[in-house]
Point group: C2
Chain length 334, copies 2
């Protein structure tokens, strides 16, 4: 038995298999190859091998680009975008193009080559969140940028090319398509219902209960009713807020705790899968988006995208979200 | 150096690396495991192991579900959708869902377990095209269906779970999102410019020349200016036509010839990569879409999708399309 489900925000269809759900053991386990740390340019002692750092969390007053850091943010050595120059938007016949202007930074999450983000202490994950926040605020000061995407690739099949734990931050001169669709969907829902679609989703999650993975004072984690991937999880602030930039220090701490817990649940439940996550936050230097509600989407890489999915934008998910949530809740963290 | 490029149909952004392009040797080669044909349910002699065939190309008057076929179409043994029943569209609070009603068929492209579609003769590929066409026409007779997607997954990383050469056909009770976006984009362009955006793309390809891979009497193959994947190729009818259902027999032959040639060029150039292709054709039992122009999109699976791409809908392509086209043109087919 399968069900078509339609996402209330962007109108995305997913075909969810509701009988014979696939469990954690039904997905192929990915091998992890540990490369020699002495070749790693993100390890302590190799600070001069990256471009000069733009931000860091440092203990004991250590100097930039030297030992003693907990988190380092550096420009990407092979950036997808260049910070200097101008867009020079132009047409070539039918075709519209502009120069690849933007920022592309790497946030090294820990000095320890062998630790994953899920293995760090809440305090250490807190340093990462703090730098997500400060880089966002700093990059938003450049009026050329309209969107800052903060994301993480973990594992080869999720597109990670460097093993040492890191996130990436890209500042773009336009609001990307998927974000625009969410903004427009949220605005349309607001116009019709006079409330936030994400807040209504949260209310429905509390009513249905079965898709909730965990929660703390400020954040809820659930598997969305219309997932695109098996075991997809969302972390969302319980209180309506469109901007990540306004997050308080205590909320940053709660976010660190729940991000660590969720990644650890996924790691244990799915045998250390590759995954991606990204923050969907409001644009910067752009019209206000009060009807938006920022959140983090986490997608474990358990299946391959097929021609059906590429060709239609449909997704096929063989683990219903309430089954995935149950597996994740049942993980023992002690 | 990189360039932002905006797709003229759906407004999709791609970041194309224009310097230091990746060539065919820069992508990881995928291992192919040949499973024992005696376990294969698609091989001749195993006709009773699939659901009863709905269509076939047979020589010498052989009987259905027996030896003697060139192409067989059977319902998928593990269908994503059920043909019986009704949609029963309903709401559960915020959530919109309906039963998974539709058709899900498998087209076995050759009796030979060891041959890929690219290895078949033009006549044999012609049998496949002929059955794409006849299944489309037949399924469109069921007024519940609004869209028929014909697609192929080749290789494990492109989502193929069966090795024996096959395509799939799925009939859906709605027009999927990506197709709707193309239809709307084409209509909007038509409203503004009074001509077909795809026809204008073809004109631009002839003017620029550098992205053309090959052509024959009826079809052009090119690497789109705004690709989503390296070495993405489109096969498009040179004459404006929205409906695949109206294709003539001689055009079917030309399509078979150019599909075989394109797959062979990709196979040789990229060391037998996994790939997906799908037909983007007009919906069925739906308002006429005269401004649409059907085509086939072929996407080799050479890279992994990252958090940046999932989070934004942006694509990053490190082989500019004119470089990919040159590599594909230079393949020696003799």
């Amino acid at each position: 038995m399968t069900e078509f489900r339609r996402d209330p925000i962007v109108g995305q269809w997913t075909l969810v298999h509701t009988s014979n759900p696939l469990g954690p053991k039904d997905f192929q386990k990915e091998e992890r190859f540990v490369r020699a740390p002495d070749l790693c340019q993100f390890c302590p002692g190799k600070e001069r091998m990256t471009p000069s750092e733009v931000d860091s969390v440092r203990l004991n007053g250590s100097l930039p680009n030297a030992f003693g850091w907990q988190v380092r943010v550096v420009p990407n050595k092979f950036p997808a975008l260049k910070i200097e120059g101008n867009l020079d938007a132009r047409h070539s016949g039918l075709l519209e193009l502009s120069n690849g202007i933007g920022a592309h930074e790497v946030l090294i999450e820990t000095p320890d080559h062998h630790k994953h983000l899920a293995d760090l202490s809440v305090e250490e994950v807190g340093h990462v969140i703090k730098k997500y926040h400060s880089r966002l605020v700093d990059l938003a000061g450049d009026k050329r940028f309209k969107y800052i995407i903060i994301f993480k690739n973990f594992g080869e099949s999720a597109g990670a090319t460097v093993e040492h734990a890191h996130s990436q931050i890209i500042a773009l001169p336009m609001v990307p398509k998927y974000v625009l669709e969410e903004l427009e969907g949220a605005q349309q829902y607001f116009n019709e219902c006079k409330c936030c679609v994400f807040c209504d989703m949260i209310e429905q999650e509390y009513k249905d209960k079965e898709r909730i993975v965990t929660e703390n004072e400020d954040f809820l984690v659930f598997t969305p009713f219309v997932p695109r991937y098996p075991f997809e999880c969302w972390i969302i602030p319980k209180k309506h807020t469109s901007e990540f930039a306004t997050i308080s220090e205590s909320s940053q701490h709660h976010l660190a705790a729940i991000l660590k817990e969720t990644l650890l649940r996924l790691k244990i439940c799915l045998s250390n899968p590759s995954y991606n996550y990204y923050l969907h936050i409001a644009p910067v230097n752009y019209e206000k988006q009060e009807s938006f509600h920022w959140h983090i989407e986490i997608v474990p890489k358990l299946t391959n995208v097929t021609g059906f999915e590429w060709g239609t934008g449909f997704f096929v998910v063989k683990t219903p979200p309430h089954v995935a949530a149950k597996h994740l809740r049942e993980v023992s963290l002690s």
